[in-house]
Amino acid sequence: METALILLALFALLLAGVPVAFALAGLGLGLLAFGGFSPMMAPSGVLSTLDSFVLIAVPLFLLMSNVLLKGGVGRDLFAAVQAWVGHWPGGLAVATVLSCGIFAAISGSSVATAATIGTVAIPEMVERGYPRHFVFGLLAAGGTLGILIPPSIILIIYGVITEESVLSLFLAGIGPGLLMVVLFVLYSMAYARLSGSYQPMPAATGKTRRTTALRASPTVFLAVFVILGIYQGWFTPTEASAIGFIGALVVTGLVLRSLTWGGLKEAVRDAMKTSTAILLIVAGAKVFAKAIALWRIPQEISALISANIDTAGLFILVVAGVLLIMGLFMEALSMMLIMVPVLAGTLAALGIDPIWFGVFFVIMVECALITPPVGLNLYVIQAVGQAGMGEVARGVWPFLLLMLLTVLLVTLFKDIVLWLPFNL
């Protein structure tokens, strides 16, 4: 009963348009006060959440990708990949998917990936006669690679709230990320073959290949260095984000000389905005999670779950369903921060690995986010491609099915997720 009322209050606040961070913190504070617990836990909860070395990686990875972005790295990457695979059947589409995959290794956000690659790839693909709805769907879905292939902002935050290793989570995201790249590439090639409505590209000359590859190489080197350094234990994920940021400054400022002072200022401002918006939600969610834990809500929900659901498979199916519905009006991070603290207790009872669950959750959340009519990636593609929602929605369905297929595959073969973290 209390659980239902609290959830009702939360959704009422959220739907009234109260910023998510404040809705969570305020409701948490109210619950503490009414429950006879010390409301001082609210300010101290905010502080203890933010006083975290792991979370510092969030603004620094954002700085890294923003600096590279302002340095025009998206364009360089796309040009290089296109020169190598552009003449394949559906070559431009393949190049787009691969560019999204590479950019994902620089950026930890799906919106940034969709926007960056979309800006260069959409005009090019439309000009070459690819159907617009296919192009939009491809980019909305390609963007989701951004949070699967490390670094990933949302996996860092999952690691913080569940106290799992960020390194393991990063490793776990690679397998499914590559699987999705392969699925998208195969689909693009098949689609291009069957529809035949595009003009094939001539193969690029060896010289173009070399020059574009050379220009993209510092960025690729930086991305590899950052990820490899984390895995090798050269530095922690947070230090890696600092190295990545300084590296991004060196690459765009000194090597490519494409970063302007104005560009740097914008990069810093954008990173600050995104970082504060995200981290305040994390802090608000912490206050809320503390409060509902004292009200024993997670225990009640997990009792409810274990009374009705006895297999891991059914549990996963229910979570997937709930996420798809919540995704109709909420964005990824808020969904995760509300759901995960409530569900975390149930995982052990059902024998579900928390690392695997993190990756499953992230893919599911992303599916929810490209499900029309509401989704951040869809909005971004609409804006970048100057398209209507109908067009984007029509194009996104096949990719959504491919992503659900990925979810199914990682559920059936858990090693896709867990092999790397357990064997490296």
Partner: protein, 158 residues
């Protein structure tokens, strides 16, 4: 009102560069460790302190620019009157929350200040250096929300 606006935006700009400085500090830490075999004792702790302040201080400016993440599916379907009413509700909620956080957060920092409590870590800095960030930034957030409410009431707000 202008004063609050300027304060909020100025602090937000500062926050951005503070994040920049954190990046420099932590990169320096790695370099110092590997190349000079001399890790710092201050980089981790200081970067956490700066991070807390930078994140919280930008909250007011984000409110002013409506850059906080919120659910707009319902509100954007309302008419102009309904949207205005919802904005009032939302701002009022933020004002009350900010007031309560200031009310409950100030004693924590004040207590540490008067008793001279320190963190007991490498740098052993006073506890209130970080604790003061919560009530002060929520004070600014509350003031900014008041300013926005006034603007909305006299019809000059978004």
């Amino acid at each position: 009102m202008r004063l609050i606006d300027r304060l909020s935006d100025g602090l937000a700009a500062l926050s951005g560069w503070a994040l920049f400085v954190i990046g420099l500090m932590l990169a320096f830490e790695v370099v110092a460790r590997y190349f000079f075999n001399a890790p710092t004792i201050w980089a981790e702790e200081l970067s956490r302190l700066v991070f807390v302040w930078a994140t919280l201080a930008a909250a007011a400016s984000l409110l002013r620019k409506d850059a906080h993440i919120r659910v707009t599916v319902v509100t954007e379907r309302l008419g102009p009157g309904g949207q205005r009413a919802m904005r009032f509700v939302s701002l009022a909620f933020v004002i009350v929350l900010a007031g309560l956080v200031v009310l409950y957060g100030t004693p924590i920092a004040w207590d540490s200040f008067t008793r001279g409590r320190t963190t007991g870590t490498m740098m052993d800095i006073p506890n209130w250096w970080a604790q003061a960030a919560v009530p002060l930034s929520f004070l600014l957030l509350g003031l900014q929300a008041l300013v926005e409410t006034l603007r909305l009431a006299i019809g000059r707000g978004a």
